[in-house]
Assembly symmetry: C2
Homo-oligomer: 174 residues x 2
């Protein structure tokens, strides 16, 4: 299966993964959130080849996650900025950072990027909370219920794959 | 630059992306969070080839994100479970889902996977909050400060790339 096919799944996670769940795309988003706007700076800080970076940037513009803005006419110069849809990806990057802080950093480089809540002055990684009662939540606090459409999609996928497998077996056997 | 090199960056986001920022890995994690434990079920629901799935599973076990548990001796059967380190990735998947719900779903398939906060009974996607004052936060509410180590790493990367570029130019010029 191609990665693009993930967007056909009746699942918001799969659809999101199909659009931004790629290491280079995530690194480009990190740069944009850190304030980088120039192609060259993003290339330097991510280490992506210019060809791949051009391709990813084009995809991000097509998905309306990034906009390409002309900031100088002579010479013609462009920069890249997150759209509102792109800025909504902030929680994804922040939760990746929090996991990296917790599990992939040594104590001496703890909090490589410090986040401070401006209103209360507290220094910490934001945590997931219930938007209704504001209590901090973890997987154990949440019940997940699949919609009928999602269940149907998963059942069809199981059935389709079983058929493919059965066909493969028949072919092999005979 | 290879994706593995990202883990050398003095940046928790880059390190996390190097380990889990791959579409197939994210899809495997989705399955494990949805309760799938068998190799075959994960293969069916993600559409990954058995070879690639084996490789990714091996990587996830090596990273201590997933553990392989023998649940039957005769015949020998294994299943996969998230470790505590793996379960800590829940916010990453949830924030991807929330973004997908908001930007990639049509109104009629809204809330493909419904999350209910058990304590208050409210149905919604968890939101990022400040762990100190519990206020819901967005990027505008947070100040980000890079540590000296992170700044130094970024400067070195900029300088190294400028040198590579200069060398390329000199070579081209003759």
């Amino acid at each position: 299966m191609k990665i693009e096919r993930l967007s056909d799944q009746v699942c918001s996670m799969a659809r999101a993964v199909a659009v931004v769940g790629d290491p280079w795309t995530l690194m480009i988003l990190r740069e944009l959130f850190l304030g980088s706007r120039r192609f060259e700076t993003i290339r330097e800080q991510t280490g992506i080849s210019p060809q791949l970076l051009s391709r990813r940037m084009k995809d991000l513009v097509a998905e309306e996650i990034v906009q390409r803005v002309t900031y100088s006419e002579r010479p013609v110069r462009h920069e890249f900025r997150l759209t509102a849809k792109g800025a909504d990806l902030w929680p994804v990057l922040i939760t990746l950072k929090a996991w990296g802080d917790r599990h992939l950093s040594s104590p001496q480089d703890n909090y490589l990027l410090e986040l401070t809540h401006r209103d209360c002055g507290h220094l910490a990684n934001p945590h997931l909370a219930c938007p209704a009662c504001h209590a901090l939540v973890s997987p154990m606090d949440m019940d997940a219920t699949m919609s009928p459409a999602m269940i149907e999609d998963r059942q069809a996928r199981g059935a389709a794959n079983s058929q493919t497998l059965a066909r493969t077996r028949r072919t092999k056997a005979g």
